[in-house]
């Protein structure tokens, strides 16, 4: 179970202005602005739920994920995942966590994908039997078959993303964070990925937080959606409720756009 209570996080950002005069001034003095990335963020996610996390860019989505991953410490508030505080018991906590960053690969570029997988097995200390079992399952469900012996750089984006997802699940985590997993994928790959996430969630009760701009992903997978804007949680409900708020006969995409407008984010 994921619990966040009253989480706040503020960043200091340097100001940069254009022109020769300001550039020279910047050599001698600096100005900072404070950016409130998260304000009083609270929600609870029970085990086995697939939650969609949406909002415009800069709303605070990746800050939330980083706090839940143990990368960042919040300024205020409490957070507990399966009884552990993410940033305190890092090693113990992350061994139960899987993360897929859509735009950054964790696979080695020039060696066969299988080598990357074996390395991950050793990093996470997965017993050989369990590793083989997971690998077989993933290979079948994500249709990885032939290209595990190919270097990652030779794969298409769709193939690579499926390998990325497999890589994140080799150690059998309870919780999965997916950050823009279907970005740039062709239609077939997208469907495969969604199908897989659904099965994974049903079979193994993996809790999933899906950050995405693709509303079809949300439609297909998420029973619950969290809408975040300017650091605050604006909506927390099912897809049906979201669409009901926006207006009749609008697609999910249009509903969400309408909500962005209404909330002024």
């Amino acid at each position: 179970m994921i619990e966040m209570k009253g989480i706040c996080k503020t960043y200091r950002v340097r100001k940069r202005e254009e022109g020769l005069g300001n550039a020279a001034k910047a050599l001698f003095s600096r100005e900072y602005t404070e950016v409130e990335a998260l304000k009083d963020m609270s929600f609870t996610i029970p085990d086995g739920q697939i939650v969609g996390y949406i909002g415009p860019n800069g709303a605070g989505k990746s800050t939330t994920i980083k706090i839940l991953s143990g990368i960042l410490r919040p300024d205020r508030g409490e957070c507990s995942v399966n009884g552990m505080v993410p940033w305190r018991e890092r090693k113990k906590y992350v061994s139960r966590l899987g993360v897929v960053f859509g735009q950054r690969s964790q696979l080695w570029w020039d060696v066969p994908v299988m080598d990357s997988f074996c390395l991950l097995r050793d990093i996470y200390r997965v017993p050989e039997e369990r590793f083989q079992a997971n690998l077989e399952r993933l290979r079948e469900q994500l249709d990885l078959g032939d290209f595990l012996t190919a270097p990652a750089r030779t794969l298409s984006l769709g193939q690579r993303m499926r390998c990325e997802i497999a890589a994140a699940l080799l150690h059998g985590p309870d919780i999965l964070f997916l950050d823009e997993p279907s970005i740039g994928l062709d239609a077939v790959s997208k469907l495969k990925v969604r199908e897989f996430i659904r099965e994974e969630n049903q079979d193994r009760k993996t809790t999933v937080i899906l950050t995405t701009h693709d509303m079809q992903d949300i439609d297909a997978l998420c029973s619950r959606v969290l809408l975040i804007g300017k650091g605050r949680l604006l909506l927390d409900g099912s897809i049906g409720e979201i669409r009901a708020m926006a207006g009749e006969n609008l697609s999910t995409e249009e509903s969400v756009a309408d909500l962005y407008r209404r909330f002024g984010i």
């Binding site: 990368i71 300024d75 890092r90 964790q106 020039d110 390395l119 990093i123």
Partner: protein, 257 residues
């Protein structure tokens, strides 16, 4: 550690996937050492001798620092390119894995192209050891080994400081170059050649002289036996480096990137 060697072999495989480029990289690194040797050679050719040192003694001192540097570069390069690791978000990836952070950063980047340089550095040491006319005994050989080992650790310490600084700022860190490339370049000659100021700095602040100059005096028979212990004593340097690293991580966890 088994996991370490697995990373090592995957790095090796990765770099050797481009044989032509790998070969050129190795050649390039070797050239840097050869250049430095050429520099020493040319100076000797011009001046006949270097201060009170014979060529063999100079080469011995140089070989030690060169080898130590290349060992650090080969095995701990992750820290040397740490700014890239943070900037590209790879560090976040490491935080999300259930392993120690220092270990992971070390495993993150290893420069295989420095391996031949380690061999070359060792050859320089061997040549210098013979040409210098030093009477070798077991204790002296041990001191020599400690010079190389501790030297690598000192460079590793500087890399740690650099990485720690990367957590605070990405800019203006070029000056760390002074302590890595700078020290390595100027260690071509024993540090006392540069004068008392430099000798003091490299003994008390960045104790490279405790790994080159002072034990060298002992080996040459011109210094006290205690100087032979200096390489190990110099490791005090690692404590502030380590503290800086921990401080950097705390800062990152609260300020992000």
């Amino acid at each position: 550690m088994r996991l370490y060697w697995k990373f090592f072999s995957i790095h090796l495989k990765s770099e050797m996937a481009y044989p032509a480029s790998f070969f050129l990289s190795c050649a390039g690194r070797l050239l840097l050492t050869i250049n430095a040797l050429a520099g020493i050679g040319l100076m000797i050719w011009r001046f006949g001798a270097i201060g009170d040192y014979t060529a063999g003694e100079v080469l011995l001192g140089f070989g030690v620092v060169m080898t130590a540097f290349n060992i650090a570069e080969c095995f701990a390069r992750g820290f040397d390119v740490f700014s890239k690791i943070v900037r590209e978000g790879t560090f976040d990836r490491l935080v999300v894995r259930p392993r120690g952070l220092v270990f992971q950063v070390i495993c993150q980047d290893m420069r295989m192209a420095s391996l031949p340089n380690i061999v070359l550095g060792s050859l320089v040491i061997l040549y210098g050891a013979r040409a210098s006319g030093i009477a070798w005994t077991v204790p002296k050989a041990l001191v020599l080994l400690s010079m190389v080992a501790c030297g690598s650790l000192l460079f590793f310490g500087v890399f740690l400081v650099y990485a720690a600084l990367c957590f605070f700022t990405m800019e203006g860190l070029e000056f760390i170059n002074i302590f890595t490339d700078g020290i390595r370049t100027f260690s071509q000659f024993p540090f006392d050649i540069y004068g008392k100021g430099v000798l003091f700095f490299t003994t008390a602040v960045m104790p490279m002289a405790m790994v080159q100059y002072w034990p060298l005096q002992y080996l040459m028979g011109k210094g006290r036996a205690i100087y032979g212990m200096f390489p190990v004593l110099s490791l005090w340097f690692l404590i502030p480096c380590w503290l800086a690293w921990r401080l950097g991580i705390r800062h990152y966890a609260s300020a992000g990137s």
